[in-house]
């Protein structure tokens, strides 16, 4: 115990063993998954367009601080809360880099938010000020993703329809920036509406 090299070697082997057993081995064994099928039938579904940009906004604003993206089937009550019908498994995440699994649920899980809240206008209103549709929410407002501008001629197509209390002054309108559009596109793309053979759900467990 008095020798430096002895301490170093001991610690090196302990960490190497921990790394090999809990990270490298499972990663090598089940971390090389591929998608099932291809094209439109590909599982998990691939989303393009604004979605990658939306993921960047999600990361930049640190949404992962309060929202998870994982559904547990055998523990908790994620299924009863309507956050998903089945356990999320490693294959669901193969296209995600970096991954937003998350560790805290100050807000709801977002794995299938695109199914649950399939309404872009609602999402925009919610980001602009969460108190509009969910009074008492602890979600911060993201009004800085929206622009207030004077209405010139006709109002913009994508202007937010806000209740009187939250509406801008007469002659002005609130429109989403590109970041807001991308974030909403990303939210709408989050769906767990497909089944994977290895994922436990109610049907398989009862059987």
């Amino acid at each position: 115990m008095n020798r430096g090299p002895f301490i170093f070697l001991g610690l090196f082997f302990i960490l190497a063993a921990s790394w090999a057993v809990t990270l490298n081995y499972p990663q090598g064994k089940s971390g090389q998954l591929t998608a099932i099928g291809s094209g439109a039938d590909r599982l998990p579904h691939q989303s393009l367009g604004l979605v990658p940009k939306g993921r960047e906004v999600y990361q930049e604003l640190g949404c992962v601080a309060c929202h998870t993206q994982q559904v547990r089937f055998s523990a908790g009550n994620d299924v009863d809360r309507g956050w998903g019908e089945r356990q999320t498994v490693a294959r669901d995440y193969i296209d995600q880099n970096p991954v937003f699994v998350g560790t805290q649920r100050i807000g709801p899980d977002l794995t299938s938010v695109g199914t649950r809240l399939n309404d872009a206008e609602w999402l925009h209103r919610h980001f602009y000020n969460p108190q509009i549709d969910s009074a008492g929410s602890t979600m911060p407002p993201f009004a800085f993703l929206y622009e207030e501008s004077k209405i010139i001629g006709e109002a913009s197509n994508n202007a937010l329809v806000l209740p009187e209390k939250f509406a801008p002054k007469a002659g002005k309108e609130i429109t989403p920036t590109r970041k807001a559009e991308a974030l909403v596109a990303y939210m709408l793309s989050l769906k767990l509406d497909y089944d994977l053979p290895e994922a436990p759900n109610a049907e398989k467990v009862n059987y």
């Binding site: 115990m1 008095n2 020798r3 430096g4 301490i7 001991g10 610690l11 090196f12 960490l15 063993a17 921990s18 790394w19 057993v21 809990t22 990270l23 499972p26 990663q27 064994k29 089940s30 971390g31 998954l33 990361q59 930049e60 604003l61 640190g62 949404c63 992962v64 601080a65 309060c66 547990r72 523990a75 908790g76 009550n77 009863d80 356990q87 498994v89 490693a90 669901d92 995440y93 193969i94 995600q96 880099n97 970096p98 991954v99 937003f100 699994v101 560790t103 805290q104 649920r105 709801p108 969460p130 008492g136 929410s137 602890t138 911060p140 407002p141 993201f142 009004a143 800085f144 993703l145």
Partner: protein, 492 residues
């Protein structure tokens, strides 16, 4: 004018008489003066910054519109900035100030390469500051305690290697062939940080592992950071200061070796426990749960050693501000260990998963266990490197404010997080109602942060007061610091 005079006399060794009895010790202290002061100053700066960010984080959890108009200060940015400033800023600097001085003292001679330490630590702090700015301008990564942007992490890594190299050289240069538990733990912290940081960076950013396994790597990193880097830094300080202050060896010191190896082994394997029920193979998480439970063995050994030593000399604890902080640190350590193991058990884990329970336990470790222990070390070092008295009454107030703050934050988040977890995982109460119910606990944590802000300001004032205060006659005397027994080298 007299202010400049005072500051000069603080740093000028000729203003203090030399004592032949403590020649080695004073020469080591003199050689460590600059690195120690740089780290203590940095820790004071980071502590204020971290607590200000922590206060904002805590307020935002119950009043979301607070600073809500600013894209720079949204919750998702302030929270990672708070955790990174607290861990890599305050806790790293404060603990390193304490353990590098201890390592230098234990090596028994003044080192000539201390400029390496000063430069590396300064580089680390500059890098961290750039990293925090990066988080605010939107370059953060989504991984807990690895949020610092990728462009700054190589720089931080190289700075840390400088600190590690200094530690290695100082350990190698020791005049006693035998080594003491404090030295083992410092080596553990320095070596393991380089190891886990490299592994996490490679597996997350250089050649990222597939999807869900990134979360596993993140969990592994965070738990190893607490178990193999931050906790050992605190153990090193506790093992050194208990015998130094009481003039008696640590009770049961001969079990220090077994505690060291079992702590390393079980801490290293427990990182996967938080992925229980997650999208990874379940046996991996079970390994983590088993290792967490096994951690009770080193935990009880360490707690037995520290608590027996402290309670055996209870009347002396309150005589020195330094031991007071160590005592509070040890109590926090025992509580942290119990809550941490409890939270990993199957059954409990499902209940507290995704709640604030884990944040409460981690803040208890950072602010209570490691933070208060580091304060104990710093308040032991400052009089020795500056040959000046501590402003004890201010530090006494700081102690109570800090202890109060830790109790409110940890109590609020651990108890509140547990009840939040019960509602979250065992009922279908809506998240809006849960937020409303949790509010009272979050107010407690905000109040605790306010207490800590006082502690942070008091720490900064103490530091600058020590620098600018005039040197009294007794502080010029060679007998100002009493010679302490070389207890650390005897085993029983």
């Amino acid at each position: 004018m007299s202010l400049i005079n005072n500051i000069c006399s603080t740093f000028c060794p000729c203003s203090v008489e030399q004592s032949p009895a403590r020649e080695t010790e004073s020469s080591i202290d003199a050689s460590m003066r600059w690195p120690a002061l740089v780290m203590i100053k940095a820790s004071a700066f980071w502590f204020i910054l971290a607590i200000a960010l922590g206060l904002a984080t805590s307020v935002k959890l119950h009043s979301p519109s607070f600073l809500g108009d600013s894209a720079l200060l949204t919750y998702g940015k302030v929270k990672p900035a708070f955790w990174n400033a607290l861990v890599y800023g305050f806790v790293f600097n404060a603990s390193l100030a304490s353990v590098t001085w201890i390592l230098a003292r234990l090596s028994g001679q003044a080192m000539r390469n201390n400029v390496l330490l000063t430069v590396s630590v300064s580089a680390w702090n500059v890098g961290l500051l750039i990293g925090l700015v990066g988080i605010f301008i939107g370059d953060q990564t989504p991984f807990a305690l690895l949020e610092l942007p990728n462009y700054i992490t190589p720089f931080l890594f190289v700075s840390f290697l400088g600190i590690g190299l200094w530690g290695l050289l100082t350990f190698k240069a020791r005049t006693f062939r035998s080594s003491f538990a404090s030295q083992w733990y410092v080596l553990m912290a320095l070596f393991c940080f380089a190891w886990i940081f490299t592994a996490a960076q490679i597996m997350l950013f250089c050649s990222p592992v597939q999807g869900a396994f990134q979360a596993l790597v993140n969990g592994w990193y965070v738990d190893n950071l607490f178990g193999l880097v931050l906790a050992p830094l605190a153990f090193a300080t506790i093992y050194y200061l208990i015998p130094k202050s009481f003039g008696k060896p640590v009770v049961g010191y001969r079990y220090a070796g077994i505690a060291f190896w079992t702590w390393a082994l079980f801490s290293a394997f427990r990182g996967s426990a938080e992925m229980l029920n997650g999208p990874i193979p379940s046996w991996v998480a079970i390994v983590g749960v088993i290792a967490s439970f096994a951690l009770l063995l080193p935990l009880s050994t360490l707690a037995m050693q520290f608590l027996s030593s402290l309670f055996g000399n209870f009347n002396q604890i309150w005589d020195s501000v330094s031991m007071r902080f160590i005592f509070a640190g040890v109590i926090s350590f025992v509580l942290y260990g119990i809550f941490d193991v409890y939270g990993s058990l199957i059954g409990v884990n499902e209940t507290i998963q995704f709640s604030l329970f884990d944040s409460g336990v981690k803040l208890l470790a950072l602010l209570g266990f490691v933070g208060m222990t580091a304060f104990g070390g710093i308040y032991f070092i400052l009089p020795r490197v500056l040959n000046k008295n501590l402003p004890s009454s201010l530090i006494e107030m700081q102690f109570w404010a800090h202890a109060m703050g830790v109790m409110l934050i940890a109590g609020g988040l651990i108890y509140g997080g547990h009840s939040q977890g019960v509602l979250l995982n065992d009922s279908t109460t809506s998240l809006l109602s849960i937020a409303k119910i949790s509010q009272s606990f979050l107010f407690l944590s905000t109040l605790g942060m306010a207490f800590l802000l006082f502690s942070a300001v008091a720490f900064l004032v103490t530091f600058f007061w020590m620098i600018v205060a005039p040197r009294s006659a007794s502080e010029k005397s060679a007998l100002f610091v009493k010679a302490a027994p070389d207890m650390e080298c005897s085993a029983s």
